[in-house]
Amino acid sequence: MAKIIQVKNLTKVYKKQNSKTVVLQNITFDLDAGKSMSIVGPSGSGKSTLLHILGGLDNPTSGEVKIDGQLLSEFSDKELSSFRNRKIGFVFQFFHLQDYLTAEENVALPSKMSNMRGKEVEKKAKELLDLVGLSHRAKHYPNEMSGGELQRVAIARSLINDPKLILADEPTGNLDKENTNKVLEIFEKVVAQRGVSIILATHDPHINHRFQNELRIDKGVMKPFKT
């Protein structure tokens, strides 16, 4: 089975003037392609940093990160941008949609960065909005939608360039139970139907059971795997 993620001895230390903060220490794990995984830990445990490093937004202090078989440290900044754009989909706790773009335009935004245009992108954006159950909201602006709807638009956006991996950082952190459930259902559907891998960071111990794998960290240190 091909590995979508291979992490070896990953350590991240933040240096601030005289003090050092160890955010992640010796993290080693991997994930098969097409599988889902939750990273569970209390806030401040280093989950977000780990996701950022996996997505190439941040650099590890030491250790190795391979995504889809490619070593991230070997990429230039430009290659990294293109890698994020084509292989990674980000979903954030606070949705991070552009308030000046409609739902449909927000979904299509990442495709602009890889210079794609026209009818195909439009069609795909509509399909994805359909997938998350929001085709009727296509022309609406973020300020006209509820939190649950916004997060589903954000998920649709993360899928526009057919990524191999979705990195979701507390995507349900701001949602009620019903919307949380909807979001998780979409993730499950995506993994099952599209073969996309998902890593979801959460501090909510009630949702991790819906993921095939689990990584627990506390204060930057790994706890035993769930099997």
């Binding site: 940093t49 950022h52 997505g55 937004l57 991070h96």
Partner: protein, 608 residues
């Protein structure tokens, strides 16, 4: 990212965040509209200044008129003292020698000797209710005319000839015997030019009132030559003084008949007594106290003199004139092979011919008759080694009648004054200094510094406005783009997370700066052009009062300014400012945009 996508994104952003965008749009709009007004009006003021002030005055100040002052020589050479009389022509006139000396001075581009046309009886018949004569009609080349007029001074055959009148010549001469028929002048009161004599003399003169603006553009007729009026009185020297007795009309008639008989021997009397007549158009009026010249184009004077002599030659009968009569009974011009002069007795029987002073015909010399256009060839004194030099004087040996009509043009000319023209107003001081070193005294009285000041003020305003424009637009763009970017931190992080490269981020913000600046520019342009038009009247009023208060007082030649000048928009300057704004926007926004692209996406996303 494609350019079109970055533009689209920025347009969408602008639509949603109009009020925030105004932080850049409004200042740029204000700046652009100000610059439209300032750059247009600075140019307009300059144009107005050039057309109303500099055009004439600046041109004027590239010339000076040098003058011989006989009074100085009278003192230094002791003229008027017993035995101290020793005048040479160089003391009274500038010669070719002076011309070559002066033209050798650096930056002197030309000179013109001011030589009065040697014709008596130049009479303006139809300008005022009364006629008046022009005593000093002087030929002037086109290029020197700007010293006295801002209008065209070219002589074109068949058209009214441009003339610059001199208000000093607006004098009416009349006779007033005070009811008496005999006036006795005692020796003591006989000095010419003195009030006492003038009051006693029956020949009086008075100034004619005029309105300068009314004269400009008027067409007038001037008569040249013809025969003099017969003197209406007789002068007798007695032991106590001079006695003037009025002649009766019968006596005058008799004198006229005598003249007719004498002249008719050699000329067709009717023809030779008929003056030449030309039409002129007044293009300037000199109102200076020290300048008594009336100017006409040099080309016209040459043509006039030729026709004048031809006129005389055509009127001749076949009878040859004996040499003995030339220069004594019949007088006219004398030509010695170099110069053409009025012969000594030209003043006979005429009043007020030499300048403004009144001369009384010399007793005993009134036997001659002045024949207009007659040129008498005389022998030039060859004792001088430089016999070709003008002013060498001539002997009184008459050779005969000279028959070449174009003699005037080729004859050497000497003048009491001379115009010196230099390359530009900036050479004025140097040329005047050099002339003074050469012994040509000239006291510069012109207040040219006023123009320098106005000019440098306008220049300073345009330099200041360019500098302010550049400075302010840089500040506005840096400041507002900095503000936009710090407000867009999260957006930058998200864009980076979604796959935007650093150069994408830079592009997005440069395009944003350009887009906002462009909108501001369009608003500013429309507003500026509108305000510029609206403010035209105000600026004209300001300009007019400025000119009236400053330059108008010291210089006579200020033209009224066309109101349209101030409604002009300076599109050329605008194009430059537009290019400048584009360059500044791109260059200035590179800095904050590059900073934005370097922002850590992690930090940008974090921190809700």
């Amino acid at each position: 990212m494609r350019l079109i996508d970055t533009i689209q994104i920025n347009v969408k952003k602008l639509r949603k965040h109009k009020s925030s965008a105004m932080f850049l749009i409004l200042p740029i709009a204000l700046l652009v509209s100000l610059i439209v007004i300032i750059s247009s009006q600075v140019t307009n003021l300059r144009t107005a200044a050039v057309s109303s002030i500099f055009g004439t005055v600046e041109e004027q100040n590239t010339m000076i008129e040098l003058k011989k002052d006989p009074e100085q020589f009278r003192q230094t050479r002791g003229f008027g003292q017993e035995g101290g009389f020793s005048f040479v022509a160089e003391d009274l006139y500038y010669t070719e020698n002076d011309v070559s000396k002066i033209e050798a001075v650096d930056n002197v581009v030309g000179t013109q000797m001011l030589v009065p046309v040697p014709i008596s009886n130049i009479v303006v018949t139809n300008l005022f209710d009364v006629t008046f004569s022009i005593n000093r009609l002087v030929a002037l080349e086109d290029k020197f005319a700007a010293l006295y007029t801002d209008q065209d001074f070219t002589y074109k055959e068949g058209e009214a000839i441009p003339i610059i009148l001199n208000a000093n010549s607006f004098v009416e001469v009349y006779e007033d015997w005070g009811g008496k028929s005999k006036i006795t002048m005692e020796r003591g009161s006989m000095r010419p030019g003195e009030g006492a004599a003038n009051n006693v003399l029956p020949i009086k003169s008075r100034a004619i009132g005029y309105d300068k603006n009314d004269l400009l553009g008027k067409e007038i007729t001037i008569q040249f030559g013809g025969l003099d009026k017969i003197q209406s009185y007789e002068i007798k020297q007695t032991s106590s003084g001079m006695v003037l007795s009025k002649l009766t009309s019968a006596e005058i008639k008799e004198k006229e008949n005598d003249r007719k008989t004498t002249i008719s021997k050699y000329w067709n009397y009717t023809k030779v007594s008929k003056p030449l007549e030309y039409k002129f158009k007044v293009v300037g009026v000199i109102t200076s106290e020290s300048n008594t010249n009336t100017f006409v184009p040099e080309a016209f004077v040459n043509a006039l003199m030729k026709s004048y002599i031809e006129h005389q030659l055509n009127a001749r009968t076949g009878t040859a004139i004996p040499k003995t009569e030339l220069g004594s009974t019949l007088v006219g011009l004398e030509y010695d092979g170099v110069e053409l002069k009025r012969s000594g007795a030209v003043t006979f029987g005429r009043m007020g011919e030499q300048g403004a002073g009144v001369f009384v015909g010399r007793p005993g010399s009134s036997s001659g008759y002045y024949i207009p256009g007659l040129v008498i060839e005389v022998e030039r004194e060859s004792s001088s080694s430089e016999s070709s030099e003008p002013g060498g004087g001539s002997s009184s040996i008459v050779v005969g009648e000279y028959k070449k009509a174009s003699v005037y043009e080729s004859a050497a000319k000497n003048g009491e004054s001379m115009i010196v023209k230099f390359a530009s107003i900036y050479d004025r001081q140097q040329v005047i200094n050099d002339l003074n070193k050469l012994g040509y005294a000239y006291q510069d009285l012109s207040a040219t510094s006023v123009f320098e000041e106005l000019k440098s003020t306008l220049n300073a305003v345009s330099v200041a406005s360019v500098t302010a424009f550049i400075g302010l637009s840089i500040i506005i763009i840096i400041f507002t783009m900095g503000k936009f970017i710090s407000e867009s931190r999260k957006e930058i992080g998200i864009f980076r997370a979604l796959g935007a490269t650093k150069s994408d981020i830079r592009k997005v913000f440069i395009i944003q700066a350009l887009l906002y600046a462009f909108i501001g520019y369009i608003i500013g342009l429309v507003g500026g052009v509108t305000l510029n038009l609206a403010s035209a009247g105000l600026i004209k009023a300001g300009f007019d009062s400025f000119v009236a208060k400053t330059i108008g007082e010291s210089f006579g030649v200020v033209n009224p300014v066309n109101a349209g000048i101030f409604s002009t928009t300076n599109w050329e300057a605008l194009a430059i400012y537009s290019a400048l704004l584009l360059a500044i926007t791109v260059l200035t926004s590179i800095v904050p945009a590059t900073n934005a692209s370097k922002m850590s996406p992690v930090e940008a996303i974090r921190g809700e």
